[in-house]
């Protein structure tokens, strides 16, 4: 019986892992192979394609739009991580106080994260519409802006607009994870600190923050990974425009592959993004191992 059970467990482990290797692992490897080949519409289905070495990478590096989009990606991801984690931390601490409906109301915020990213993009595109959008109306009514902001068509503003939408979309998820981390801080620590006369600020600095630092790092990694993936939301709002102002790496890669049919160049851009997410994922896995310590 035990032998059959072990055999069954190995089959159970093998099937899903084989599935993931076939449909994620293999495409990643295939992407890297394509990035050193010349791939166009004519030879896309062929097995043998001309090897071009690092030409695609050279082309990418020389491309002015790539540098711009690379920096955009860093800004988009960086601002998202900082905003989602800090706002999330503030809210999680607020909701950790005991008041009627606290956990229900906190959970309700997650509604924004449950929406399909494409719908979130469509919704914010409507709210950010220059003439009839509710954002400009409210800001003008409050006297915060004089003339309407061109949220999506002004190259100086577009990246900010998609960043705001993405923070709205993703922050509740970060907040829920931070809230879970907060509940693992032993209450006795706070009680002891309060007895010693530590104020709220001191308790936050010397107890809360050190206790949840590993969790915050893991959450920051997760937000980075999720934000690096952002495609639908930006595609719906601006398609990366105007003039690549709000473009990010996955979207640029898609444009090269599926709009200009330069699959090799698209794949080379993809490799850059892969390396970044892979690095962050390694940090994430290490943090989990250290913290979980199973």
């Amino acid at each position: 019986m035990l032998a059959t059970r072990t055999a069954l467990l190995h089959v159970f482990l093998f099937v899903p892992i084989a599935y993931l290797l076939a449909f994620v692992g293999f495409p990643i490897v295939y992407n890297v192979i394509m990035s050193v080949q010349e791939v166009n519409l004519g030879n896309i289905a062929d097995l043998v394609r001309p090897f071009v070495g690092l030409d695609n990478y050279r082309e990418v590096m020389a491309d002015a739009s790539f540098r711009k989009v690379f920096i955009n990606s860093l800004v988009f991801v960086g601002v998202n991580v900082v905003a989602q984690v800090s706002i999330g931390l503030g809210l999680a601490m607020f909701f950790a106080q005991r008041f009627p409906g606290a956990s229900f109301l906190r959970g309700l915020l997650l509604a924004s994260w449950m929406l399909p990213a494409l719908v979130v993009g469509a919704l914010w595109k409507w709210m950010f519409a220059t003439e009839y959008g509710v954002a400009n109306f409210v800001l003008r009514a409050l006297g915060l802006i004089g003339s309407p902001v061109h949220w999506l068509s002004d190259p100086a503003v577009a990246l900010t607009s998609v960043t705001i939408a993405n923070i709205w979309f993703g922050m509740p998820f970060s907040m829920i994870l931070i809230a879970a981390a907060l509940t693992s801080v032993p209450l006795e620590l706070y009680e002891a600190a309060a007895l010693d006369g530590a104020g709220a600020t001191a308790r936050f600095r010397y107890i809360t923050l050190p206790a949840i630092r590993p969790a915050l790092l893991a959450i920051a990694c997760l937000v980075t990974i999720y934000t690096m993936r952002a495609f639908d939301l930006i595609f719906a709002m601006t398609q990366g425009g105007p003039l690549d102002a709000s473009n990010v790496l996955p979207l640029l890669s898609y444009q090269f592959s599926f709009q200009q049919f330069q699959f090799g160049v698209g794949s080379a851009i993809g490799t850059f993004a892969f390396v970044i997410v892979f690095g962050v994922a390694l940090v994430y896995v290490r943090t989990l191992k250290k913290e979980g310590g199973e």
Binding site: L9, G25, P100, S103, F137, R229, P250, G270
Partner: protein, 283 residues
């Protein structure tokens, strides 16, 4: 992991009222965009472009809904979304419960490697996998079928399911399985009749989250299927929004109908979803 927090502050129930009021106001404000989506769908053509905009529709109308159902094949789009989301959910639950069960029971290097592999494979952006997927499915001859989108999407939901379910399966006591062996059940029967029923609630949570992800799938549908008749609602909404001058009341009516099932599911399962997410992502 369990509440309550800060017991000493909560001694007086009244003390929490200002907090509750503030929190309610904040949540309502935060979720305002969702409200705006629904009421925009209920506005008439004249009212949607009114200046100043109305925050409660003056003359709510279902005209936009009527229009999109009669003129824009919304029913077909929704049917296609379900034709993708339901098989993805089934496939994810099947493979996910198998893998999570195995990872919770086996020990040693193999499982460690498998777990790291799952964690690493879930991070790659879909938009970047779309090109190689396109070529793979082209050579398999299943481009322009739901099968391609289903297989591609399930690769994303599966790793997510494995990560969330594994710690849950660990909680099933091994003694229960032993007892079932003594009763003469095979290992497979034990899994089906003993372990899975205990895991009902986590499986519902993971099933819901997989469904929601697959239902909102956009990139793979757009890249792996070129026929409009097969496209799901996400692509349908996108084709509305892409236009220079969008009919926003209709786009929002379409979006409202589309996300309504998700929001209803969410309201029913909110507590369990929150618990499931926190269990998986950080353990």
């Amino acid at each position: 992991m369990k509440q309550p927090r800060f017991r000493r502050l909560g001694a007086l129930p009244l003390a929490g009222i200002p907090h509750a009021v503030f929190a309610t106001a904040f949540v309502l404000l935060y979720l305002f965009p969702i409200y705006w989506m629904f009421i925009s769908g209920l506005k008439s053509t004249a009212e949607i472009f009114a200046n100043p905009p109305t925050f409660v529709p003056r003359q709510p109308t279902l005209a936009s809904f009527e229009y999109i159902f009669l003129r824009e094949n919304v029913l077909r789009y929704l049917r296609n979304s379900l034709a993708i989301a339901i098989p993805v959910t089934v496939l994810t639950l099947l493979l996910g419960s198998m893998g999570a069960y195995a990872m919770s029971r086996l020990r040693g290097r193999l499982v460690d490697v498998a777990l790291v592999l799952v964690l690493l494979l879930q991070v790659f952006p879909e938009a970047l996998l779309a090109t190689p997927m396109f070529i793979i499915f082209k050579s398999l001859g299943i481009l322009n079928t739901f099968a391609a989108v289903i297989l591609a999407t399930a690769s994303k939901t599966l790793s997510f399911a494995l990560v969330i379910l594994r710690p849950m399966f660990r909680q099933v006591p091994y003694e229960l399985e032993e007892a079932s062996f003594v009763d003469g059940c095979t290992p497979l029967q034990t899994f089906r009749l003993i372990v899975l029923p205990i895991m009902r609630v986590p499986l519902i949570v993971v099933g819901t989250l997989s469904f929601v992800q697959a239902y909102g799938q956009f990139v793979y549908a757009m890249t792996l299927m070129s026929q409009q008749e097969l496209q799901p609602a996400t692509v349908g909404i996108y084709s509305f929004v892409g236009a220079e001058y969008a009919d926003w009341h209709r786009v929002m009516a379409f979006s409202s109908i589309f996300v309504l099932p998700i929001l209803v599911l969410f309201l029913f399962l909110q507590r369990r979803i929150v618990a499931g997410l926190t269990a998986g992502a950080l353990k």
